[in-house]
């Protein structure tokens, strides 16, 4: 399907509209214009609202451009907006999201690409069964698994703590400070694990399909040349699949950045990702709702995926289509 989606970019196939100003053409371009307006409208409204002062917002013309442009709402949303007595604005959530994002993207892609590679080139007994379960797992509503994962994280946190603390007498004897309690639940590392787990089906599918499309003979040639599992992965497969890694990165960056559910359940206020903090800022009101600040905050949160989207262009399209469609 990756190939089919490339078709999507290869150029139109339908009949060509006849003359430049035929009635069909007017209808087509007219419809598309209206459609584009509908899709652009909210972005436009968000931008103009975020640039207005509150008195102007209260005038009630959401479509009107700002009479007096002010960046105060942006400043406030970024560094001053309050949730409770914390008035650090969205910046904290932004950095939390970054700290969640970077390891999650790297780890999930590393694990999924190796899994996909093992599935495509090194099938073993039962590997297809695990893969099928994994793909079906992608359709299981998260709600079914959320609670047991809380328990899993807690128990493994305690297990790791027990292991670490076993070294404490030794470390203390050597004059070092002992290990503290290690927690997965509520910590960034816990959320990274959750993102890795739930990113696994789609990424593994993506990589498996890609590696399957790599000619098998290439793999055979490498084996004849004496390369093993990791040798072929790092020396042959990895260098020739950079595009698919970029696609996976786009997929994961937007997906993890936009996550709300896991952020709200598996973290705590200090480690809230940006989306959760955004919701808190907008829905935690001190007297009057400051719509301009809210919209600035909303835009700030949407900025990262938007930048990724506009910068990556066709790769984004390829990513979502490849991630969504079975190969």
């Amino acid at each position: 399907m990756v190939d089919a989606t490339v078709n999507a970019l290869s150029g139109p196939r339908g009949p060509k509209p006849k003359k430049a100003l035929s009635s069909t053409n007017i209808i087509i371009y007219g419809t598309l214009f209206v459609v584009c307006m509908y899709y652009l409208l909210p972005l436009y409204v968000m931008i103009v609202t975020s640039l207005k002062g509150m008195p102007e917002v209260r005038l009630g013309n959401i479509f009107g451009p700002p009479v007096e442009v002010t960046f105060q709402p942006w400043v406030k949303a970024w560094s001053e907006a309050c949730t409770g007595i914390n008035c650090e604005g969205l910046s904290r959530g932004f950095w939390n999201s970054v700290w969640i994002l970077v390891p999650s993207v790297i780890i999930s892609i590393a694990i999924a690409s190796v899994s996909g590679y093992a599935l495509a080139n090194w099938r073993f007994k039962g590997s297809e069964v695990f893969f099928t379960i994994l793909i079906f797992g992608a359709f299981i509503p998260y709600q079914v698994m959320i609670y047991p994962i809380v328990i899993l994280l807690r128990e493994s946190g305690e297990g790791i703590t027990a292991v670490l603390k076993a070294f404490n007498p030794m470390l203390e004897a050597m004059g070092f400070e002992g290990f503290k309690t290690f927690r997965l639940m509520g910590s960034l590392s816990g959320l990274v694990i959750v993102h890795t787990i739930f990113g696994m089906p789609i990424l593994t599918l993506l990589f498996r399909n890609y590696f399957t499309s790599v000619p098998e003979e290439l793999f055979k040639a490498a084996r004849v040349d004496g390369a093993g599992f990791w040798g072929i992965y790092f020396r042959i497969m990895l260098p020739m699949s950079l595009p698919i890694f970029v696609v996976a990165m786009i997929l994961q960056i937007t997906g993890i950045w936009n996550d709300f559910l896991f952020g709200v359940i598996y973290t705590k206020p200090e480690t809230y990702p940006m989306t959760v903090q955004l919701n808190n800022i907008v829905n935690s009101v001190q007297g009057v709702k400051e719509y301009n600040v809210n919209m600035a905050a909303t835009l700030l949160t949407g900025l990262v995926p938007l930048v990724i989207y506009f910068a990556s262009g066709k790769l984004f399209v390829r990513g979502i289509a490849a991630g969504a469609v079975k190969g």
């Binding site: 055979k220 084996r223 004849v224 004496g226 042959i236 260098p239």
Partner: protein, 359 residues
């Protein structure tokens, strides 16, 4: 003597599907063996087993007398060339050639030496710093051969190496391969579905069908003395004419025709009477002024004529039986005409209709 490659009772099954069964094959030192068959006959599978890319179910494989049944592909002393070239796209030609040597921890200067030698033999010196994407099909295939060459191995395995090339290039490279074999004198096992390649290249051909070797022999044997109906039908283009009839007292009878099989070399001296099938190659039929010299003569009705330039292929009817005749390109034959033809029974083949084996 030790064979270069020796396969004993090889079984391969994917689940319940048996792909290869009880297969035995010996390849002598320096021999050029071609595995020939239509797709799905198991020829590539067998090659992959020899290379160690497929794990066999039962049996043993020896290379140079060493039991390599469970060895890794790189431990077997083989080099392999693939149909799709299978060059590593991100490496230069040089990188491609030296990848296997690096994996085997060969010293650097030795690598240089071997790469240079291979480049010289294959005349790909100027291409060493290019990436495969910048090469033509023929150049890629040379690099692929070079990759096997640098490994300095005893056995070369070719998996339909010329199939992806266009017709003209294929002929050129075929000739070059033959020359290479003459020069290197390595054992080569070569898989193809193209009988011309097989006939031109092979010291011996193994015709395969359904995971078994139908006939193993020199190109001449395969062509002139096919061991069964399948091989007879498979080799030769256009393929052999078959007519079902009876063998009675050393004569072949069909309808009201009787063909004395004088000069035919029977496999067994006293062959009992039985239903039999005669096979006559279209190119072994003579026409025109040569007919009177032929031991057997018939008259056939011409159905269709296909002029092919060098030859003319005539579709005719011998009694009720369709019969193809390859004639000279200059022959002028018209549809509806009745012509006389001559056949030499010593060049024909006779098969037992029931067992399909050569009589």
């Amino acid at each position: 003597m030790t064979y270069s490659v020796e396969i004993k009772q090889l079984d391969l099954a994917f689940g319940a599907v048996k792909v290869l069964q009880g297969l035995d094959l010996n390849v002598s030192e320096g021999e050029f063996l071609v595995l020939l068959g239509s797709s799905g006959c198991g020829k590539s599978t067998l090659l992959n087993c020899i290379a160690g890319l497929l794990e066999i179910t039962d049996g043993q494989i020896f290379i140079k007398g060493e039991n390599v049944t469970w060895a890794e592909p790189s431990e077997r002393g083989i080099g392999m060339v693939f149909q799709s070239y299978a060059l590593y796209p991100q490496m230069t030609v040089k990188g491609n050639l030296s990848f296997g040597l690096k994996n085997a921890k060969i010293p650097k200067n030795e690598i240089e030496k071997r790469v240079a030698r291979a480049a010289e033999i294959l005349q790909i010196g100027p291409l060493l710093d290019r990436k495969p994407g910048a090469l033509s099909g023929g150049q890629r295939q040379r690099v692929a051969i070079g990759r096997a060459l640098v490994r300095d191995v005893d056995v070369f395995l070719f998996d339909e190496p010329l199939s992806n090339l266009d017709a003209k290039l294929r002929v050129d490279l075929r000739v070059e391969l033959k020359r290479l074999h003459n020069q290197l004198q390595n054992t080569m096992i070569y898989v193809t579905h193209d009988q011309v390649e097989a006939m031109t290249l092979a010291d011996r051909i193994a015709v395969m069908k359904g995971g078994a070797i139908m006939q193993l022999g020199s190109p001449d044997e395969i062509y002139n003395k096919p061991r069964n109906l399948y091989v007879a039908d498979f080799i030769g283009s256009p393929s052999m004419n078959f007519i079902e009839g009876h063998l009675e007292g050393g004569r072949f009878k069909v309808d009201d025709m009787v063909m004395p099989m004088d000069g035919y070399a029977f496999a067994a001296p006293q062959t009992a009477d039985r239903p039999a099938t005669i096979g006559i190659r279209p190119e072994h039929v003579v026409t025109g002024e040569l007919v009177p010299n032929a031991p057997l003569q018939f008259a056939v009705d011409v159905d269709l004529v296909e002029p092919m330039g060098s030859d003319t292929l005539v579709y005719a009817k011998l009694g009720q039986h369709p019969f193809r005749i390859r004639m000279d390109g200059q022959a002028s034959v018209k549809v509806g005409e009745t012509i006389s033809i001559g056949v030499d029974p010593s060049r024909a083949s006779l098969f037992d209709t029931a067992t399909e084996d050569r009589l």
